[in-house]
């Protein structure tokens, strides 16, 4: 069998595919301690976020800007 340029390209592509696939790591359920850390939560302190949102809405007249269930009157 003659080794052609296309043959080499196919082998390189195959090797690259294998490398890319095996580069994916599965985080097992018991390895999620760091992901569950408080610092990984966007709004870790719900009461503080609620207070800040209320303050911002009152100051800027932007009630509903973060999304509310209402008719769109802007009242709260």
């Amino acid at each position: 069998m003659t080794i052609t340029f296309r043959c080499v390209c196919a082998l390189v592509l195959g090797a690259a595919t294998v490398t890319a696939v095996t580069g994916c790591a599965t985080v097992q359920p018991w390895q999620r301690g760091r992901l569950a850390d408080r610092c990984m939560i966007f709004d870790a302190d719900a009461s503080r976020v609620g207070y800040m949102t209320h303050w911002q809405e009152a100051r800027e007249g932007s009630s509903g800007g973060y999304g509310v269930q209402s008719g769109g009157c802007g009242c709260k």
């Binding site: 069998m1 696939v21 018991w30 390895q31």
Partner: protein, 166 residues
Amino acid sequence: MGRRRIVLVSGAVALAIAVAGGRPAAATQAPDVTLQRADGGRIHLSDYKGKVLLVDFWASWCTSCKTAFPALDGLYREYQPRGFEALAVNLDEERRSADAFLAAHPHHLNVLFDPKGASPAAFGVRGMPTSFLIDRAGTIRFTHVGYAGNVDATYRKEIAQLLGEP
């Protein structure tokens, strides 16, 4: 034709490696894992052969695990006089996190440690918490993934069934 075959073989190899990287299937026979006691000593799961055994995998960062822990402790206290054994395998990477939780929650469960996670891998754990009920012959008979809070009756029924078997 030769080139097409090479491409097909390359693809097949890539697919095989991707599949092999998945989670191991849950074995019917409980694996004989080695676990660390609080004092640093080691136990083997095979030490409990001949007993009805609950193995619960938990971690202090897992909210459902923390809910399940006292409930399983209650089940252990209830059935332990009848020969039931329960192992709570902690999977925290940092021991101090587990120790803080355990200090705040008095318990009777046998707490063991596996910070490297070899035992849940051997059991094929797919979620936290996961508990396995193992019969006297060392066979995994029931598996519970997660904890809903309303499954104590199910546990009781399963434990009673296994305790009633020879």
